[in-house]
Amino acid sequence: MNPGQPNSLPNSFRTGPDERGHFGNFGGRFVAETLMPLILDLEKAYVAAKADPSFAAEMKGFLKHYVGRPSPLYFAERLTEHLGGAKVYFKREELNHTGSHKVNNVLGQIMVARRMGKKRIIAETGAGQHGVATATLCARFGLECIVYMGAVDVARQAPNVFRMEMLGAKVIPVQSGTRTLKDAMNEALRDWVTNVHNTFYCIGTIAGPHPYPMMVRDFQCVIGDETREQMQEAEGRLPDSLVACIGGGSNAMGLFHPFLDDPSVEIFGVEAAGHGLTQLHAASIAGGRAGVLHGNRTYLLMDDDGQIQDAHSISAGLDYPGIGPEHSWLYENGRVTYLSATDDEALAAFQLLSRLEGIIPALESAHAIAKVVELAPKRPRDHLMVVNLSGRGDKDIPQVAEILKGEKK
């Protein structure tokens, strides 16, 4: 890898971030002064929790009995036959309670919030999966829950809005800006600036100011840690490649991170190419450049004046004009290869998987499947490929039905 610059590569890809929250040039703490003392407090509380064996023990108990972990590592036999190449395994995060990987992180943050004595939890959500996971754990622990959701997403993800309300959360439709995920995040930050004393901001992905990208990653690493053990059990060795979809990139980082220092493992992240990379899309690495938004420096979609541009993806969960800062770093140092899948490719993969494996994936995860369809046939039959099936597709059925109805006409 990168043989021309032997000194530019770190000894390990797993030691970041530094004490200022930097992954190379990315990350950091770009927040208003009002929030600065809060994120310093959070960092302190998280570091203390991490060092406390009782915290890990409590997490482990809830992950097992409430979330339903470990999630299976499943050999997708019919998809493997169909593609005629690599042996494809699914890490089945869609079987978690609440239907996606989001719950791993929310459980961790809610545990930290409890240690800090915070009674009011706020969150942003796009597709509603993070909102649902947050509402679920707030219900479980008797905490007040406020979820900010772009008004556009409230309209297109109505079943999740109802689920959150059912769980006792208050969903606030965000009317500012483009009325999608990035504006929901702005509004959550505005809430936090206003309610500094009693509020904990539960961010849904590995973005935001330090320590969020590190903390959320740590909570999601259970995905890769389990995969490592399960693959050892199933095949007696490491996987040869990993594939996961990327919006902010938390499900991908959770799978990738435990394998970053295993050079034999090829790693692929899949961004949302929307209508195509020359048109409206949500692929920050393929179509963006480094900038500063929502507390961190990372790859962003923006214009020449540094104004943030609208993202587009068929999948509300990938519809964000940025990406977690650690991914930007892993892109620039070449450890992870970033690909992209269009709306149409994701839609085709969504249907393929439903029919071949009896698993309806979330549209987000279908982006990863779309690239497995391209990568697997080019690999030998003894190649072990793991794809993160990060969420289930129930929430997407009405939207997909609508699109397919339109195509038939």
Partner: protein, 278 residues
Amino acid sequence: MSTRIDARFAELAKQGRSAFVTFLMAGDPDPKTSLDILKTLPKAGADMIEIGMPFTDPMADGPSIQAAGLRALKAGMTLKKTLEMVRGFRKDDDTTPLVLMGYYNPIYIYGVDKFLVDAKTAGVDGLIIVDLPPEEDDELCLPAMKAGLNFIRLATPTTDDKRLPAVLANTSGFVYYVAITGITGSASADSHVVGEAVARIKRHTKLPVCVGFGIRTPDAARAIAENANGAVVGTALVDALRGSLDAEGRATAKTVPAVADLVAALAQGVRGAKQAAE
């Protein structure tokens, strides 16, 4: 290094009064009207002017200033044009301090070194960048100081005595005390509480302390001015501007006077304040 900001505070100290600082969003509702407003502000009674640099995602601003930024962007405003606006103002006024206020990304994309040269040349005196706390001083604060621009820091109710020295370390020009925890234009500042906070900051610095966020009326401006070296008004002026626009959001004959009249009334309030806190 002495800037127009230092000179203005020295002059006001001689007169024994506090500064009245006004905010306007560059390019709101269009670049020409915005420059016209800017030019009338000193005559109307503004001692110092903050010019907002529009940004799509202003995470510390309330609905009024968010909307002002979007109006400006829709009218084609860019950071380059904001600097042109400063140059336009400096043709007739070489003494009123101008401070650019906003978020880091447009400056980062413009290029920090180029921005600092262009801003200084255009006649900018200071910068207030909301999302650059002292932890990120290498980015812009230290280069700005070297380039001869004041980097004005926000101190807030959450900035405790332990943290204040870090916040004040590389601050120059003045300290901007954010009177409330919250976004711009959301709550009213309590002048008594603010007075105590200003006194607390002054135990740590000799710099003037101006207070903003939550000041809307001449009386409130007077009360704040009695407790600080300056009172900043933003949202109330942006609201006055918006109220003067036509149904399509375009400027009318009333737009410039609507802002100027409110500035004059607020300036009366500030000038009616008793001797400012020292």
